[in-house]
Symmetry: C2
C-alpha cells in the first residue's frame, strides 16, 4: 500500500456539522453552520467552536459569552447548508428558513426548536489561532426532542438521524451500526444479550 503526500490541510473527516445559534435578544438572534467543533473534555463536559473574526456570530457570541450547538438531521440539510453560506448581516435566517427560536433555560441564549438536540454552552475563554478564534466553552445544558424517547423513557438516539460533513459533502449514516464501543473484546454472551435488547428497541421504534 503506497502513500501519496498532499499539502498539509484540514483533512480530518468526517466531522459533525451543526448549527450554532447565538443572541439573547431577538434583534440579535443569528445562526451559523460550523464543522470546526468537537469535545475537548469529559468532566466537566467541554466543547468549542472555531469562528472567523469577520463573522457576525463571532461578535454576538463574544458579547454574550454563550452559544448553543444545535445538532442537525437529514431533513434539515438544506437549511444547514443555507445557514453556512449566507450572512446574518443580510438575512434573518430564523425567518427565512422558518425556524423556531426558543430560549435556553441555562444561558438565556436562543436555540433552534427543529433540531433534535440543543447543547447550551457558556464560553470560558477565546483563543486566537490565526484564521479562526476558538471559543472554548462548558456544556451547561442539553435538550432533546420528546419524540426521541421510548415509552419506557429510553433515549432512542439513532432516531435523531444526525448527519455529518465529509470533505465538502453532507451524509447520513447507515441505519445499522458496525458495532458498539467495546465489541472487539466483548464476551459472546454479552453480545447476544445486547443484540436482543437492540431487536426490542427496533420493535419499539416501529410502534
Amino acid at each position: 500500500m503506497s502513500k501519496r503526500s498532499l499539502k498539509p490541510g484540514t483533512m480530518l473527516n468526517p466531522l459533525p456539522v451543526v448549527m450554532v445559534s447565538c443572541g439573547k435578544e431577538e434583534s440579535e438572534y443569528n445562526i451559523m453552520t460550523v464543522a470546526w467543533t468537537g469535545i475537548i473534555n469529559s468532566e466537566p463536559p467541554m466543547t468549542y467552536v472555531s469562528i472567523r473574526k469577520s463573522r457576525l456570530s463571532h461578535e454576538i457570541i463574544k458579547k454574550n459569552a454563550t452559544f448553543v450547538i444545535n445538532l442537525c438531521n437529514e431533513k434539515l440539510v438544506k437549511t444547514v447548508d443555507y445557514c453556512g453560506v449566507v450572512s446574518g448581516r443580510d438575512i434573518n435566517k430564523f425567518k427565512e428558513m422558518r425556524l423556531t427560536a426558543i430560549k435556553g433555560e441555562k444561558t438565556g441564549c436562543v436555540m433552534i426548536e427543529e433540531c433534535p438536540f440543543n447543547i447550551e454552552c457558556k464560553v470560558t475563554n477565546i483563543v486566537e489561532y490565526g484564521s479562526h478564534d476558538m471559543f472554548v466553552a462548558e456544556i451547561v445544558g442539553v435538550h432533546a426532542d420528546e419524540a426521541l424517547f421510548s415509552r419506557s423513557d429510553k433515549l432512542l438516539f439513532e432516531k435523531a438521524d444526525l448527519v455529518v460533513y465529509n470533505h465538502g459533502d453532507y451524509f447520513a449514516l447507515e441505519k445499522t451500526s458496525l458495532g458498539r464501543f467495546g465489541h472487539s473484546v466483548m464476551k459472546e454472551k454479552t453480545k447476544k444479550r445486547l443484540a436482543g435488547e437492540n431487536r426490542a428497541r427496533l420493535r419499539t421504534k416501529k410502534r
Copy 2:
C-alpha cells in the same frame, strides 16, 4: 415539538473516530483510539486530541511533541475498537492487530499504513481542562493511499469509506451524498454540471 432536559454531557455527535499513533522509536510505538478531536483553525491547519493524563499515549506524545491522526475505514472498525479499550502498557497493538508501522517524513512519528489517510501533527501547546489534556497541534503533513486516486490524479475521497462514532456506536456513511456544500444557493446550471461530473467520477470508480 416539546423538549426534555438532560444532564449536561458530551452530547455532540456524530464524531470522527481516529487512531492516534505516537512514538519515534520502535520500542515506544503506540496507538490509541480517540473521538475527542476536531479542526480548530484553517490557516495554518490546526487540530487537537484530548487525552486523559493516565494514558500511555499521553506520556509518549508529551515527550516527542508529535502524533499522527490516522483516519479509519469500515474494514478497520474492530481494530479501532480494540485500540480504544486495551492499553499499550499490556499489549503491543501494532503486533496484535497486525498493523504496519511506517515513519512520517515530516515528524519522524510512527503512522499506520493500513489507514487511508495519515495526518502528521506537531504539538504547539498542551491545555489542561480537568479530566483531559488537550494537545493542540499544527498539521504539517497529510498522506493518502495511492488507491484513492483516479487515473487523472483526482482524489476520490468517498472511496476511503471513513467511519464515525455516534453515541457509543460505530457507523459507516450512506453511499450517496445528501448534497454538496453550497447546494442550497446553487444555480440549476451549476448543479447539473456537478451532477454530470459526479456520474463521470462514479464511472471511474467502477473501473
